[in-house]
């Protein structure tokens, strides 16, 4: 009796680890619980424990395989990054550099503008992030808490541009920046080959507005109402009450925007045509071409670029994962 009823009970506690064979076992257990003798049950239990173990091993083996696939290509970069290109063709293949060399890195720092690209990328991505955080949270506050005519229409208009790809508006955006660049004063700050011209068109995504609006709407309304009754101005309420509560959402949005921006390629390619404002993605791709193809240097550059992000990622992993979900799940 006790033995018979134990089977289904156990099933409930194993948290989804049950298997097809478990099910047959527990079927037996339920149907024939009274007739089931102790030996048969123990055999079933053993069978299940073994099959559990096999399944678990299978599951972890599968997961590990995908981990190797995910991380492998980046890890392998260590090999070509510290070898000369010629040794790539060596047979049998040279997995571990026989004569490790820093030549690729020497080339990267001496013959290319790698550091400049890195600085530009940092300025670009940070700039877009800051502009997005400030403008998005302000606009989101207005959409979430203020009532004004045309609110719904404006919000829908903005939201409908949520997914517009850079490629589809590349030329008109370029022409817009060029036009503004020709104007007096403002043209000194917003033009092609300026940080302003690089940053502002990349800070247009309404995703942040949408995300922050959703977030602000979940904040308790009581605080807000109380502050309002005290006669605090909207600006003061935003700064003193809403902003501190927004911090976690701002971190998530910031990481998301930063990651999207530093990975972008098409806009920086046309918005910055000289080394002064060229970013890493464009710069590294320029190492991959006629007369200059040097796979060792390409590997070295790719590795060097991915390492700092990985370190930051490991420190702030939780935020990163939330940030990537922010785009989809928060909706």
């Amino acid at each position: 009796m006790t033995a018979g009823s134990a089977a289904p009970e156990r099933d409930l506690t194993t948290d989804g680890a049950a298997t097809e064979r478990d099910m047959t076992a527990s079927d037996d257990g339920q149907a024939d619980s009274f007739e089931l003798d102790r030996a048969a049950f123990e055999a079933a239990g053993r069978r299940r424990r073994t099959s559990d173990r096999v399944r678990r091993i299978g599951a972890y083996a599968t997961l590990s395989l995908f981990v190797v696939i995910s991380v492998g290509p980046a890890l392998y970069l260590i090999s070509p990054a510290f070898r000369d290109s010629v040794s790539l063709f060596a047979y049998p293949p040279e997995w571990i550099p026989r004569r490790p060399t820093l030549e690729n890195y020497r080339f990267l720092f001496r013959n290319t503008e790698y550091i400049r690209w890195g600085v530009n990328t940092a300025v670009y991505a940070t700039g877009v992030t800051l502009v997005s955080l400030v403008t998005n949270s302000l606009a989101a506050y207005a959409f979430a808490r203020l009532r004004f005519p045309g609110r719904k229409v404006l919000f829908f208009l903005i939201l409908s541009t949520l997914m517009i790809p850079v490629a589809a508006v590349l030329a008109p955006t370029y022409l817009t920046v060029r036009t503004i660049g020709g104007w007096p004063l403002i043209g000194d700050w917003i033009d092609l080959d300026t940080y302003g011209g690089l940053i502002l068109p990349s800070a247009v995504s309404p995703l942040g507005v949408f995300m922050m609006k959703q977030f602000i709407e979940t904040l308790p309304g009581g605080l807000y109402e109380a502050a309002k009754l005290d006669g605090a101005s909207e600006w003061r309420i935003f700064r003193k009450i809403v902003l501190p509560l927004l911090k976690p959402a701002l971190v998530v949005l910031g990481i998301f925007v930063f990651m999207i921006t530093w990975a972008s390629y098409l806009w920086p390619l046309v918005a910055a045509t000289g080394d002064d404002y060229r970013v890493l993605t464009v710069g590294i791709q320029s190492l991959n071409g006629q007369f200059v193809t040097n796979w060792g240097v390409m590997g070295a550059a790719a590795l060097l670029t991915i390492v700092p992000v990985t370190i930051v990622f490991l420190f702030f992993q939780k935020w990163f994962v939330q940030a990537s979900m922010a785009g989809a799940l928060k909706q």
């Binding site: 063709f89 290319t112 370029y174 092609l192 046309v270 080394d275 464009v282 320029s286």
Partner: protein, 422 residues
Amino acid sequence: MKIFRSRSLSVGAAILMVFALVAAACGGDDGFEGVTLKFAKAPHGEDEADNMAQWLASFQEETGITVEHTIVPWDELEATYTANFAGNDVYDVTYQTSTHLTLFGELGAFSDVTSRFNGDDYSTDRSHFPDSIVNASVYKDNLYGVPFIIGTIAMYANLDLMAEAGITEIPATGEELVAAAKAIQNPPDVWGFYTPTTVADFGWYFNLQNVHNFGGDIVSDDFESATIDSGPVRNATQYAVDLICTHEVQPRLGQYDREGAIELFKAGKLAFLLDEPSRVAVFEEEGLPFDWDIAQPVGNNGNISQFSTTGHWSIAAKSENQDAAWELVKFLSSADFSQTYNERYAFVPARDDVDSTGGNEKLARNFEWAMTTWDGLVTHPKINGLLDEYVKALEAATTCDTPVAEALAEAQARAEDLLARG
């Protein structure tokens, strides 16, 4: 000197000229002090940034002009130049090949240098540019850049591999090449032949000489009609396809790209390779572990021609320093600079008073071929589009999936559309 009536007059004129030149030079000094020129070029070697800095030092010192040099990669060149030339702060001087010279030029990106190029103060230099080269760069009486180099093609041959197979002469005809390549190759360890046929590797550049050798071209001389789907082009393309798909002496498409094939040759695993002579200096510097030589690409029925594009120095129409830019163009087009540049990158200078072979016997021969059998690309705003249609057909056919006739017919139709458009 007939125009001068007496000797003393001519002497006087000479003295005056010297004065004028000195004055002009001094005036230039004062006029350009503090000017900054932006200069961009797609590279011919990974050391080009370093070399340019060194080579431009004397120019900057003499004129007081500061030159900011940017490397524009070949793959990103079109997007970068389009964005730059349409922008508010343009590259004053750029390097442009025949394919893009009038494409950008006719859209108003470049200044017409005809009057400067044919001007009195440039006449001495002008006389050293052969008319045949200059004429290929003129479109509707406009010259959008001063010709600098013509890039030719050479066939690199691994003499050790040839000797092992008992072949003593570098093949000179298509049939000989196939026979030799077949005798030598032992894939995948040793391949017989390689020439790029893809869009990404500018496959047209390496195959058009063959089209010409078969007696055809992709467009009529007057650019009125496309001739991609014609007998000679079919035959030439079929030859390229057969090397890969029938004779199997060349690796399949995608196994090696252009730079990959260079590495293959350097490793002694490729018998014959078509590439620009610019690799001669690289190979000699690295010291390949086998004997090698260069020859002219094989011909057909005794036809052997040297196809090439021309590289030019162009001045942006929007440049605010047209005169300073012209000074830089003059410097870059000078015999001295041409010699320095081509001693390193082994192109054939577009002027006849430069010996850039530096005593290198291989390059001297290459120079000779260019002088005798040159058959360069004529510039045209639509030539880049036409070449693209041809190379897409070539790439499709050399995948061995698409019949040559089918690929060329499609390219022909698209090329006709292109020519019909205004």
